[in-house]
C-alpha cells in the first residue's frame, strides 16, 4: 500500500511527464531510410573510410601530372604545406573536401541533393536534371564550383565546373588550374557504404583525365557538430 503522500508525489511526477510529452511529443527516430522518388537513398550522415592524404589513381599510381605541375607539387611538398590554403580556413575545393576526416550529411530531395560538410561549415548543392553550364551560363569561378547532377540507373552522376585555381586537390598539395572539371559517381557499395568515383579533368595540369575513389561508412548515430575553423585565427577582444 502506498501512502497518500507518496501517491501525491507520484501524481506530480506523472503530471510533469505528461506536460513534457505534450510540449515535445517524443516520436520514434524519424530519419528516413528511403528516397521520396524511389531512387537509391544516400541520405544521412557518413564518415570517410581511410582518408587519403595523397590522392592516387584507381591503379594506385601517382596522378599523370604535366612537368610544370609536377614541379609545383614537389615545391609544395618540400615546403611541408606551409602555403596550405586550408590553414587560412578557406573552402577546401573539390575533391579535397571529399577527403576531409569530418562527417558529412547528405540531404536528398528529388530536385536537389545537398551535401553538408562539418569541416569548416561548408556545403554543396547538386541541382538535378539541369545541363552542365557552358557559354554565357558558365559560372564565375568559386572554391567549390557549381554542380549539376542526374541519375544513371542506381548511380548519381555529379558534374562540377567553374572552379578557381586557389585550392589543392588533396592534403599533400596536388595542384590544379582553373580549367579543372570534376565528375563524381555516387553509388551504394552495400547498404551502409557509399562509393564515390571521381574523374579529374584538367588539361592544363594533367596529361590525361584520371580517376580516384573514396568510400564512406554510414553513421546512423552521428550528428554534425559546429567546426568554427576560423577560431584558431582570432584573438577575441579582452572582456570588459
Amino acid at each position: 500500500m502506498i501512502s497518500f503522500r507518496m501517491r501525491r508525489v507520484a501524481d506530480a511526477i506523472f503530471a510533469a511527464v505528461l506536460s513534457t510529452l505534450a510540449a515535445y511529443p517524443i516520436t520514434a527516430a524519424t530519419q528516413p531510410t528511403k528516397s521520396e522518388d524511389g531512387k537509391p537513398y544516400f541520405g544521412g550522415v557518413w564518415l570517410i573510410e581511410n582518408a587519403p592524404r595523397e590522392l592516387k589513381t584507381l591503379a594506385g599510381k601517382a596522378p599523370p601530372l604535366k612537368p610544370e605541375a609536377a614541379a609545383l607539387y614537389t615545391k609544395r611538398k618540400q615546403a611541408k604545406s606551409a602555403d596550405d590554403p586550408n590553414a587560412q580556413c578557406l573552402p577546401h575545393g573539390v575533391p579535397r573536401l571529399l577527403t576531409a576526416s569530418h562527417p558529412i550529411q547528405i540531404l536528398q530531395k528529388p530536385k536537389q541533393i545537398s551535401v553538408v560538410y562539418e569541416a569548416n561549415h561548408q556545403s554543396r548543392m547538386f541541382y538535378l536534371n539541369e545541363p552542365v553550364p557552358t557559354g554565357d551560363d558558365y559560372p564565375d569561378p568559386t572554391y567549390l564550383g557549381t554542380s549539376v547532377a542526374h541519375w544513371n540507373g542506381n548511380a548519381l552522376l555529379v558534374d562540377t565546373v567553374g572552379f578557381n585555381d586557389r585550392t589543392w586537390l588533396d592534403d599533400s598539395g596536388l595542384p590544379h588550374s582553373d580549367a579543372l572539371q570534376v565528375a563524381e559517381r555516387y553509388e551504394l557499395a552495400g547498404p551502409d557504404r557509399l562509393r564515390v568515383t571521381v574523374t579529374i579533368t584538367d588539361p592544363k595540369t594533367f596529361t590525361v583525365p584520371w580517376q580516384t575513389q573514396i568510400t564512406y561508412k554510414r553513421q546512423p548515430n552521428l550528428r554534425l557538430k559546429e567546426d568554427p575553423c576560423a577560431e584558431k585565427l582570432w584573438t577575441p577582444p579582452p572582456p570588459t
Binding site: Y24, Q88, P91, H121, K225, L233, T235, P237, T240
Partner: protein, 253 residues
C-alpha cells in the same frame, strides 16, 4: 566581390555590411532562374522548405512594442560602449568579423538568403552568410550538459501552425545584433515562426532572455520572403579578409 543588395532603401546598409563584415565574397556561380513549377509556395503550413530572404534590413534588434530593450545596467553599459566605438571609427570586433559563426539571434537578421531543407525530424538551415549551418531537431529535448557553441542547440515543436524553436547552449562570443547588444552564456532564444501572406512570407517573433543583460525577456521580429528565384551562393569570408580584427578592433585595411 559579390554583395547581395535587396531593395533600394536597404541598399546602403547592405553595401556597408559587405564592406564591414563580409571580408570578400567569391561567388555568383549558382544564380539560375527558378524552375517553372516553383511559382507558388507550398500550401502546407508546416512546410518551410525553400529559399528565404530577409525582407528589408535592420542592423538593430528592438522590441516589437518600440523603445529600447529592457537593459540591466551591465547590458546598457556594454551596448553604449559598442555604439560609441562604432561612432569613433574603432568598432569592437566580434565573431563574424573573424569569419566565425554569427550566433543566434544575430544570424536571423543577416541580409543574405537562407535555404531550409527538412528531412525527417531534422530541419537544416543553410545560411549563405559565412556558410552558417543550423540544425533544428523537431520534437526532441535539449540533451543535458551541452558545451556552448556559436549557434547553440535548437529543438522545436509545432503549436498549431507556428513552429516554436528553442535555442540554448550559446557561447558569449557573439552579439545579439550587429549594432552591439551583448549577451552571456545565459542567453536563451525562442523563435515563433509561421507562414503569412499565403505562404509567401515567414514571420518570426524572437524572444530573448538573458538575466545578466536584460531585466526581463523581450521580443523582436523579422520577416522573410519566399524567393524561388534565388540560390545560395558560395561565401568565402576568409578570402582577403580586409576587416580582420587587430587587437580587438575591426580595422579596414
Amino acid at each position: 566581390m559579390a554583395c547581395r543588395v535587396q531593395g533600394s532603401a536597404a541598399g546602403m546598409g547592405v553595401a556597408l555590411i559587405c564592406l564591414a563584415f563580409a571580408g570578400s565574397v567569391a561567388a555568383q556561380g549558382a544564380a539560375k532562374p527558378a524552375s517553372p513549377d516553383a511559382d507558388a509556395p507550398s500550401s502546407d503550413p508546416h512546410d518551410f522548405d525553400g529559399v528565404w530572404f530577409t525582407r528589408g534590413y535592420d542592423r538593430k534588434f528592438r522590441p516589437v512594442e518600440g523603445g529600447m530593450p529592457p537593459f540591466t545596467e551591465k547590458g546598457r553599459k556594454d551596448w553604449e560602449r559598442n555604439v560609441a566605438a562604432d561612432k569613433a571609427g574603432m568598432p569592437v570586433a566580434d565573431a563574424p568579423t573573424a569569419c566565425l559563426p554569427h550566433g543566434i539571434p544575430r544570424l536571423l537578421a543577416s541580409p543574405y538568403p537562407i535555404q531550409i531543407i527538412t528531412v525527417g525530424n531534422q530541419m537544416t538551415w543553410l545560411h549563405e552568410v559565412n556558410r552558417n549551418q543550423r540544425f533544428i531537431w523537431l520534437d526532441e529535448k535539449h540533451p543535458a550538459n551541452l558545451e556552448p557553441t556559436y549557434l547553440g542547440h535548437s529543438v522545436a515543436h509545432w503549436e498549431g501552425d507556428t513552429l516554436v524553436i528553442d535555442t540554448t547552449a550559446l557561447n558569449d562570443k557573439t552579439r545579439i545584433d550587429e549594432e552591439g547588444i551583448t549577451h552571456t552564456t545565459q542567453l536563451h532564444v525562442v523563435e515563433r515562426i509561421r507562414k503569412i501572406n499565403g505562404g509567401k512570407e515567414l514571420e518570426s517573433l524572437i524572444t530573448i532572455t538573458d538575466p545578466v543583460m536584460f531585466t526581463k525577456p523581450w521580443t523582436t521580429k523579422r520577416t522573410y520572403e519566399w524567393r524561388p528565384d534565388v540560390r545560395i551562393m558560395e561565401y568565402a569570408c576568409e578570402e582577403n579578409n580586409r576587416n580582420a580584427p587587430v587587437d580587438g578592433v575591426t580595422r579596414a585595411k
